[in-house]
């Protein structure tokens, strides 16, 4: 129940941020990936099952607002959310640079899975944006690590 409420709130927040950033990001549209950052963060905070479910919902939402095969982003984000939940429980990602590396590896993996699926099933050219799309995992990782650190500090202060 608690996971559902948190998931709903996170989904609304991610979607509002997406709506806000999308028209503002100009030519760097493909670099900003709000949903991957949200899924990895949710998985890291709430665990593998909520992470996978949240990834599936976010992925289907992304696909609903894109022409092409419905379900492609869902597959990669489901796996991303699940792995974020599993790995974050097995290693220590409390330090900022550890979490940055953790999010970088996962966002790169999610990006690679999505790119592969688009090439195999979607048969649609990637929005390269002059190569800037390759910066997506790094931008996503930095955003996720900063937010993770911020929320973790807030929680620590609140618990005291």
């Amino acid at each position: 129940m608690k996971d559902g409420l948190y998931g709903g709130a996170a989904l609304v927040a991610a979607y509002l941020l997406f709506c806000l950033l999308r028209p503002l990001s100009g030519t760097l549209d493909p670099v900003v990936d709000v949903f991957t950052a949200a899924v990895l963060l949710f998985g890291a905070f709430r665990g593998e099952i909520p992470g996978a479910v949240f990834g599936a919902v976010c992925g289907l939402l992304v696909d609903a607002f894109s022409l092409g095969v419905f379900g492609l982003a869902g597959l990669s984000l489901t796996a991303g959310g699940y792995l974020a939940g599993t790995i974050s429980r097995k290693i220590n990602i409390q330090a900022f640079f550890r979490s940055l590396l953790f999010f970088l590896i996962l966002s790169a993996g999610t990006f690679a899975a999505w790119t592969g699926l688009v090439a195999l099933i979607g048969r649609s050219p990637m929005p390269w944006a002059g190569g800037w799309i390759l910066a997506r995992p790094a931008v996503t990782a930095v955003a996720a690590a900063l937010l993770y650190d911020f929320v973790r500090r807030l929680k620590t202060r609140h618990d005291r």
Binding site: P23, E48, V69, L72, P125, M126, P127
Partner: protein, 279 residues
């Protein structure tokens, strides 16, 4: 709960979710079918949020200009701009239509039909994966929009067409830069017909099926719709040729830069009167 399920609960949940997504993917075979119920539902539920977010920020931005700075001027300016846009589009449709009419009665009937010729809409969203594939506008089925209706920008230049999912208040527009888009076009100076296909990787288009033996189409030539596709009316500016080359195949490789500009939120017009007329 059986022990096996208990022990492998997490793995089974992941497998279930992945299978669900694979099932959704399999429903879309063959490609080209209408949007699924789930896709239409997600679009219908969340698309008003885009309009809402845009309205909120537009409203905040207007507070200064509307109530503090130059009260009333902004309103009049906006009305004038809308009127200019309407007249420009009307002029474009008139010129295109009148050119095809042969007598006074036909002209009178055509002018009477102009009232319902187009619907103005604002761009409220851009494709979530690739900005060169589609946009979302704040007019939908309840405003009379239907699939396949052509969409032009404020200068009357071709933007794309309405495709599923079509919501009651919002609609998806497939841009001519989408790889699944095909538009029948020809040159203004040299009316050689071809098919304009999108290339969302670069945000440009390709002109296909122009024989390698043709020497008339060159860089800088403007392409307009020819109506052969049965979707887009003839005479809409679609793009400009940026390169022409041959590689030994039957057809030329022609790159085209689209003439529309919807990179920033803008007003577009849906040509409701021209659906299905196509030439």
């Amino acid at each position: 709960m059986p022990r096996f399920l208990k022990e492998h609960r997490k793995g089974l949940a992941l497998a279930g979710l992945m299978s669900l997504q694979a099932l959704i993917l399999s429903f879309q075979v063959p490609m080209g079918q209408d949007a699924s119920f789930l896709e239409r539902t997600a679009f219908a539920v969340f698309s008003p949020v885009q309009s809402g977010v845009r309205s909120v920020f537009r409203g905040i931005g207007r507070i200064w200009s509307r109530y503090v700075h130059l009260r009333g001027v902004e309103d009049r300016n906006r009305e004038s701009l809308d009127e200019i846009l309407r007249l420009r589009l009307e002029n474009s449709v008139l010129r295109e239509g009148l050119g095809r009419l042969e007598n006074r009665e036909e002209a009178a009937a055509f002018l009477g039909s102009l009232e319902k010729a187009f619907i103005l809409a604002e761009v409220v969203g851009i494709d979530a994966v690739n900005p060169h594939k589609s946009i979302v506008i704040n007019r939908g089925a309840s405003h009379g929009l239907q699939n396949q209706m052509p969409v032009v920008d404020s200068q009357g230049r071709l933007v794309g067409r309405i495709v599923p999912p079509l919501g009651p208040k919002e609609a998806t527009v497939q841009l001519i830069t989408d790889n699944l888009s095909s538009v029948g076009v020809e040159g203004v100076e040299h009316p050689v017909p071809g098919m304009l296909n999108g290339d969302p990787g670069s945000g440009t288009c390709r002109l296909a099926y122009v024989p390698a033996s043709d020497v008339s189409l060159v860089e800088g030539e403007t392409l307009v719709t020819n109506g052969f596709d049965g979707i887009f009316p003839e005479g809409l500016p679609a793009g400009t040729i940026i390169s022409v080359r041959t590689d030994g195949s039957l057809f030329k490789k022609i790159a085209v830069r689209p003439v529309f500009n919807v990179r920033r939120p803008a007003v577009v017009a849906v040509l409701t009167g021209s659906k299905g007329e196509g030439g």
